[in-house]
């Protein structure tokens, strides 16, 4: 009984003359490799060349500023709660008079730290954020650590620079 009609009967026939003298097949094979020799390469010279990973790639975190340059984060802590790896910690502080251009709301994060060894780049902090403050950049990866003291990223590394604003593809 056959379970499927996919059974293929293989015939163990003798090699033909052209197969037995090898040379035609060898020349055919050499033609194939020569074609690949000149074809476009599928690999790239990585650190110099980089592939576009798409607008949804989750890379280096960034704490966004608004249009006037004030930090959007209000230190509500929802990102820290959402974080499955418990990589985020923060200290909240109250905005003083004269700091309106620095912080958008009355409350802000005076310390905001992400432990990059713990972070799994799931992007749940980005989804949890009600103020659209934290994003995972699509075009920048977290650099290689060389020391354990470097793995906790503070606000100096996370807050968006005014001269290098982050814009995800598809945003206006």
């Amino acid at each position: 009984m056959k379970l499927s009609n996919k059974t293929k009967v293989l015939e163990q026939r003798e090699l033909t003359f052209s197969e037995r003298i090898y040379l035609p097949a060898i020349l055919g094979g050499m033609g194939t490799t020569l074609k690949h020799f000149f074809s476009k390469k599928v690999t790239i010279r990585y650190p110099e060349e980089k592939r576009y990973l798409g607008p949804v790639f989750r890379g280096h975190h960034i704490l966004k500023r608004d249009e006037e340059g004030a930090e959007r984060c209000t230190a509500c802590g929802l990102c820290a709660v959402a974080c499955p790896a418990e990589a985020i910690s923060m200290v909240a502080d109250e905005r003083k008079k004269g700091e309106e251009h620095l912080y958008r709301e009355e409350k802000y994060a005076s310390v905001y730290e992400i432990n990059m060894l713990r972070c799994i780049f799931c992007g749940l902090c980005e989804e949890a954020c009600p103020k659209q403050a934290i994003y995972l950049q699509h075009d920048k990866m977290v650099p290689v650590f060389e020391d354990r003291s470097e793995v906790i990223f503070g606000k100096d590394k996370l807050v968006e620079k005014m001269d290098n604003r982050y814009l995800r593809d598809g945003w206006k």
Partner: protein
């Protein structure tokens, strides 16, 4: 006396130059082997050391020298060291009789022959040295005190002996055409476009297949067959001793390319030799000839690599079958065919083109006859089984 000493200096410089060119080509073959492999597999290849990875051979050499030089216990220490030395030594000795160019005019009536030494048994010298070369592999494999190494060494020995026969027979046809064993006169009979490949298509195919086997290159690299023998004869080797084995393989590739160019592709002959000779003088023409020979040799090195990254390895019985039942009868047929073409065309008083046509027609007839024969055999077998 004066003339002799200039000639001596010039010769010494020439020999040193050939030595450097051979080593340089071999070093860069390792790099180009990897690049060509990469290109044929749609990759970009090594590109970290220097621009386009051009310093890769240097990095490899540093790596080889820095590695631990390990000699296994219970191995024969001196033979273990002698193995790679013999391989390297014999690989470098072959290039002595390859004529890299015609005579260079150094002024003052001094003519420098661009050939290490023109011995009248030139091609036999090549054969002798190549068959000595297998001792390096054999001794190294035996001295390692490792079964895999020994198996690889035995394979290398039997493979080289088997393929030397067919190679020698294919050379005999060349010797019949040129009437001399000297590589120089073999090249001189081919001047002006009368390349032996035109008269010896079958002989060339036999020779190149045997050259692959003699150099232990894929598809005949059974002595170092990783899947069965770990590393074959160089399993136990490390550091620069391993480097010497690998290096001598690349030198052998270059030299066998040069020998093939000498025997079948007119050596330092190139189209338009006479035109350049008249227009720019002897020396320019001769030096361009050197370039032509090295270019041809490098093309064969490329073919070696091209085949390596195209074909899988033979099984050992297939290798032996091809050598003994395929190539040796074929090369005997080639000798007979060459003799016949020489005989008939001389009787006709025919020009060279008759000889060329007769050689190719002979090969074509041979292929057709054997195809018909095998078809007849096949039908007979089918009838017997049905």
């Amino acid at each position: 006396m004066e003339i002799t000493s200039t000639l001596f200096t010039a010769k010494a410089i020439y020999v040193g130059l050939i030595f450097v060119i051979t080593l340089g080509v071999a070093a860069y073959s390792t790099y180009f082997e990897r690049v060509i492999a990469a290109f044929m597999q749609d990759r970009v290849g090594p590109d970290r050391a220097g621009p386009f990875g051009i310093l890769q051979p240097l990095a490899d050499a540093v790596k080889m020298f820095m590695k631990e030089d390990f000699i296994p216990a219970h191995s024969n220490k001196w033979l273990f060291i002698a193995g790679p030395c013999i391989s390297m030594f014999t690989a470098l000795m072959t290039s002595v009789v390859v004529p890299f160019g015609d005579k260079l005019d150094l002024g003052g009536g001094v003519m420098l022959d661009l050939q290490g030494i023109d011995v009248n048994i030139g091609i036999l010298w090549v054969f002798g040295i190549v068959s000595l070369g297998v001792y390096g592999v054999l001794i190294g494999g035996w001295a390692s005190n490792n079964k895999y190494s020994l198996l690889g060494a035995i394979r290398a020995a039997s493979q080289n002996i088997s393929y030397e026969l067919a190679m020698g027979l294919s050379i005999i046809a060349i010797l019949m055409l040129s009437g001399s064993l000297s590589t120089k006169s073999i090249v001189e009979t081919q001047q002006g476009g009368h390349w032996n490949i035109l008269y010896q298509p079958l002989g060339f195919v036999i020779f190149i297949v045997c050259a692959f086997a003699e150099c232990n290159r894929t598809p005949f690299d059974l002595p170092e067959c990783e899947t069965e023998l770990i590393g074959g004869y160089h399993t136990e080797y490390s550091s620069m001793k391993l480097g010497f084995y690998l290096f001598s393989e690349y030198i052998n590739m270059f030299i066998s390319g040069a020998v093939m160019a000498t025997l079948y592709f007119g050596g330092y002959d190139y189209p338009g030799y006479n035109f350049i000779f008249e227009k720019f003088g002897n020396n320019i023409a001769v030096l361009l000839g050197v370039g032509a020979l090295i270019g041809k040799a490098l093309f064969f090195v490329f073919v070696f690599m091209w085949v390596r990254w195209t074909l899988p390895r033979f099984r050992y019985d297939q290798l032996m079958g091809l050598g003994w039942t395929g190539l040796i009868p074929l090369s005997m047929f080639n000798v007979v065919l060459t003799g016949a073409t020489m005989l008939f065309t001389v009787n006709d008083g025919g020009s060279n083109w008759y000889t060329v046509a007769a050689s190719w027609a002979g090969v074509a007839i041979m292929i057709i006859v054997s195809a018909l024969y095998s078809q007849a055999q096949y039908k007979k077998k089918k009838l017997a089984t049905a």
